[in-house]
């Protein structure tokens, strides 16, 4: 009982304040046309907004259920780094060190030697994934299409795995080869 009495008192005070505010507003606000006045009283703008909501409510949904679903990617997506092999299994890299030279982040470290079959090969091919800025200049510089940026973007690296060595990079290349090849075929006309 006590509560409802308080409620009624506060409602009356608030209503009075509202009326005072309305009167002040009518007196002080710039003059509006009749149409605008009606729009304001029927909350027209809010209805317009709700119209979009209503349309979207019945449209086809765009949310992707990651990780069960993936968004589509460009063939040129620059993701995880990899080293490729030739179809016969031979590594492509010839240790020309052009990627090392062009890398703006100095993320690549290569050491080379003469392999037993007299070819020029790397003994060390390390990429610091934390330094890499995925600019793709290494891919552009490579004369044998060995170093590539795959479209793989879902990976984590930590302080223990940030240096990707030659074995890792080649393994990534082997794992992604089909995708790399198809992406490159798709983009071939523009290279």
């Amino acid at each position: 009982m006590q509560l409802s009495q308080d409620f009624i008192i506060s409602f009356v005070i608030l209503s009075l304040l509202f009326f005072v505010a309305m009167i002040l507003w009518f007196l002080l606000a710039p003059r509006l046309g009749f149409k605008d006045l009606i729009k304001r009283f029927v909350l027209w703008d809010i209805l317009c907004g709700l119209k979009i909501t209503g349309i979207e409510f019945f449209k086809r949904k765009k949310t992707v259920q990651f990780p069960e679903e993936f968004t589509p990617k460009s063939a040129r997506f620059r993701g995880l780094l990899a080293l490729r092999r030739y179809p016969n299994g031979e590594e492509r890299c010839i240790a020309c060190k052009l990627c090392e030279a062009v890398c703006p982040a100095l993320a690549i470290k290569i050491e080379s030697e003469v392999r037993s079959d007299e070819t020029r090969r790397t003994t060390r091919f390390d990429i610091d994934a934390f330094k890499c800025i995925h600019c793709g200049l290494c891919e552009q510089a490579c004369p044998v299409d060995s170093i590539v940026l795959t479209d793989e973007s879902n990976y984590t690296l930590d302080r223990k795995t940030q240096i990707m060595d030659k074995e890792t990079l080649l393994a990534i290349g082997d794992y992604c080869e089909d995708k790399i090849a198809s992406n490159r075929a798709e983009d071939d006309d523009y290279r």
Binding site: K97, A101, E113
Partner: protein, 794 residues
């Protein structure tokens, strides 16, 4: 009559040129760039690459700038339409057969063809036929080939012929079938052969040890000086600029231009010795031998042990029982501090002359054994006499100057005990047994001067055609005689007497007497007082100490060695090893540890090898040259000058209190100003040894000369496969009943060993030639001592 200069115009710039100069020479001097492949300022002009075609006014076609002499009023245009068109056409032809393997080519990044193709070539290729492929040449263990890349500029051919002195490479076939190759299938030989790598404008000739290990753009360049011979060639060390784990490694060595010394060349030994620096024999941490077992210890322990041992000797007042032997390849600063330390301890037994047999005339040198005249002026001398020297192998860049002199028309006369191949035309030679060399010189002197009080013309030589030839030449030379006493004479048993008679020859004729020494810094060692009879800066020592040979003969209880390997570096390795094994304490501060060292040494202090410390060398003409440290020493190794400073501190000696070794360099530099390097000898009465005895001729092959080169694999592969055999003159062999290829037992002192004996008519009659410093013979005795044949197996 002096010809007047000609006025010409290149690209509208008015220039003045000397008559007979080529257009490209004028352009180069004025800094106007004309592309070129075959032209090289140090080689003869060939004009076969056609890259330097330029338009010249009033000429119907463009002309090769390298073979067009300037004419008065000539107007050349290096950037005109016609010039650019010809250059693009030539470039297109050159690229027709050049493979597109720049990514794997070692020349990539420093390739003249690459640069010129970008700057003067067309922007696309019109060639779609097959490119030719050329099979590779085997040029030995130093120069690698990829002949498909060759553009036939013939620089290498001209280099071998004019600079190297041997016609080894040639062009075979014509037109599209032209190939560069060797005339004989024995690889590229010669002491300067590595320079073709620098000369080759493309990647056809590359360095084999460097193959595929680095690219030109990733190196940091460090100034340095050759640490292998007394000429002091200027060179660059290249190490990776990135200082990760491989940062402290020398990747290659290139020449540094110095017109006064090495021009633009360096010897193969200087170029490829870096391979030895990364040897597994490097000393990484201080080691102590305790109860016959080696233990790695900390620097503190090792240095305290050394200081305590030395202190005990000082307290017992037995400091004259310390023998100090330092390598002549050490820097001036190391030598200076080492001798100061030893002298402060109280011993004068300090020496670097471990290859010397005769010390009696050590007082005759005013400063040090030196070239009295700058090396650069040798090309103008009239008559050069080379005695006891294989300068071509031992001081290649000095011999290059001598060869130039010969090409300019001067005469070269050689007096040796082995007929070395000098690859240049000798005007005369006398191949004479080492024991008769003195007699020969005495006779020459008497034939030239009649008023000599000692000695006489030997009846044997009175009518000898070679001596008459030499005497005639000496008389004709009219005072302009350069007598060069070589490295091998330094080790001769009678070196002092021979030098005194050579000096007499110089006095009679005028001219100069020069001395060559083994090691890079023997001059520095003399100057800093690392000799037994003199203290620093030619001051007499407080008391004359024992020289290197006496130290070993006396069998001292304590030896302090720096940078020496007893079994290879000493003239009498057997004597050295015996003395060191009998000693109570052998302290060896060294960069390389050998098995034998582990046997005789008690303390091993690992010191930085050359390229890992800064300092200076004084070359044979008395020129002080500084060099910088290029890389860090491996493991715990430290620069030797720091080690000596700490030992001195531990002993409470204050004389070594220099804050940095460069302070010493400045003192040395000022002491060298206005010093004459002449020496003075009194004639010594000749006494001839018994001719029935056989003398050994056993010099160090150039690639066995010091610890670093001995560990350089590519250089070791250049050694003759028969190097370990004894050699004997066939006539003499008949007398001794030795057939070619027989196994003979040779004896020196009380050591005996068996060798295959080859007949070789290059050896003087009366000598046995058996190299020192090899793995096989290091246990035989004195390299220039008596040797006896004790048995022959057929």
């Amino acid at each position: 009559m002096k010809k007047e200069n000609i006025d010409i115009e290149i690209d509208g710039i008015k220039l003045s040129a000397k008559p007979g100069e080529m257009l490209i020479q004028v352009a180069d001097r004025e800094g106007i760039y004309i592309p070129r492949f075959c032209y090289h300022k140090k080689l003869k002009i060939a004009a076969n690459c056609r890259m330097c075609l330029v338009e010249v006014e009033n000429s119907p076609k463009t002309l090769p700038a390298c073979a067009t002499p300037v004419t008065p009023g000539m107007k050349a245009f290096t950037k005109s339409k016609a010039t650019v068109k010809s250059q693009q056409a030539v470039m297109e032809f050159l690229l027709v057969n050049h493979p597109l393997d720049c990514p794997i080519c070692d020349q990539g990044g420093e390739c003249e063809l690459q640069d010129v193709a970008v700057s003067h070539g067309a922007d696309r290729s019109r060639f779609d036929s097959e490119k030719r492929v050329v099979s590779d040449e085997d040029l030995g263990s130093l120069v690698g080939t990829e002949m498909t890349r060759c553009i036939h500029c013939t620089r290498c051919i001209r280099f071998c012929e004019d600079i190297g002195g041997q016609k080894q490479l040639g062009a075979f076939g014509r037109g599209g079938d032209m190939n560069i190759g060797t005339y004989l299938e024995r690889g590229l030989q010669g002491e300067l052969s590595g320079n073709v790598i620098d000369l080759c404008p493309v990647g056809a000739l590359t360095s084999k040890p460097f193959k595929y290990t680095g690219r030109s753009w990733e190196f940091q360049q460090h100034l340095s000086v050759s640490p292998h011979d007394c000429v002091g060639s200027n060179m660059y060390f290249h190490s990776f600029a990135d200082s990760s784990d491989n940062g402290s490694k020398i990747m290659r060595v290139l020449p540094r231009e110095n017109e006064d010394i090495n021009e633009i060349w360096i010897s193969d030994r200087d170029r490829f010795s870096y391979a030895g620096l990364n040897s597994t024999d490097r000393a990484h941490s201080p080691m102590l031998k305790q109860n016959g077992k080696w233990k790695n210890v900390s620097w503190q322990t090792a240095l305290n042990y050394v200081a305590d041992s030395l202190k005990a000797i000082m307290d017992a007042k037995k400091t004259d029982q310390i023998g100090a032997l330092i390598s002549a390849n050490s820097s001036c600063e190391e030598l200076f501090l080492f001798q100061k330390l030893i002298r402060a301890i109280g011993s004068n037994n300090i020496d670097h002359r471990v290859t010397v047999n005769d010390f009696t005339d050590e007082g005759s040198f005013t400063t040090f054994p030196a070239m009295v005249k700058p090396i650069a002026t040798f090309a103008n001398s009239k008559l050069i006499i080379l005695i006891g020297s294989n300068a071509r192998e031992e001081q290649p860049l000095l011999f290059h100057k001598i060869r130039q002199a010969v090409q300019n028309g001067s005469s070269l006369f050689v007096i040796n005990s082995y007929d070395y191949d000098f690859a240049c035309s000798l005007s005369g030679k006398k191949i004479i047994s080492s024991s008769e060399m003195l007699e020969f010189l005495v006779s020459v002197n008497h034939m030239l001067a009649t008023n000599l009080s000692v000695g006489d013309i030997s009846s044997q030589y009175a009518q000898d055609p070679e001596i008459l030839d030499l005497v005639a030449k000496l008389k004709a030379a009219n005072g302009s005689v350069e007598i060069i006493a070589g490295e091998q004479l330094e080790s001769h048993i009678d070196a002092a007497k021979i030098r005194s008679w050579l000096y007499q020859l110089k006095v009679t004729l005028g001219g100069n007497l020069h001395h060559l020494t083994k090691g890079a810094n023997a001059a520095g060692a003399w100057l800093t007082g690392a000799v037994s009879h003199r203290s620093e800066f030619m001051m007499p020592a407080s008391k004359k100490g024992l020289n290197a040979l006496e130290m070993l003969q006396e069998k001292l209880p304590v030896y302090f060695m720096h940078g020496q390997e007893a079994e290879y570096d000493f003239v009498d390795p057997n004597l050295a090893i015996d003395a060191l094994k009998d000693a109570d304490l052998v302290i060896s501060s060294t960069s390389f540890v050998s098995d034998s060292m582990l046997d005789y040494a008690d303390v091993i202090l690992p010191t930085a090898a050359f390229s890992e410390f800064s300092g200076s060398f004084i070359n044979c003409e008395g020129k002080l040259q500084r060099f910088n440290a290029a890389v860090m020493p491996p493991g715990e190794a430290k620069p030797a000058w720091k080690v000596y400073k700490v030992i001195a501190n531990l002993l409470g000696i204050e004389e070594l209190n220099y804050s940095h070794c460069s302070e010493i360099t400045s003192i040395l530099e000022s002491s060298l100003a206005n010093v004459s390097h002449d020496g003075f000898w009194d004639l010594i009465e000749p006494s001839y040894s018994d001719k029935s005895e056989i003398s050994r001729i056993g010099h160090w092959p150039s690639v066995r000369a010091d610890a670093t080169v001995r560990r350089s694999e590519p250089l070791q592969k250049t050694l003759d496969e028969n190097i370990a055999c004894a050699r004997i003159n066939p006539k003499y062999a008949v007398e001794l009943n030795i057939i070619d290829g027989a196994k003979v037992a040779l004896q020196q002192g009380d050591v005996q060993a068996k060798y295959i004996c080859l007949h070789d008519d290059k050896v003087a009659y009366g000598n046995i030639y058996l190299s020192t410093g090899l793995d096989g013979n290091n246990n035989l005795g004195n390299a220039y001592g008596k040797i006896t044949v004790v048995g022959v197996e057929s």
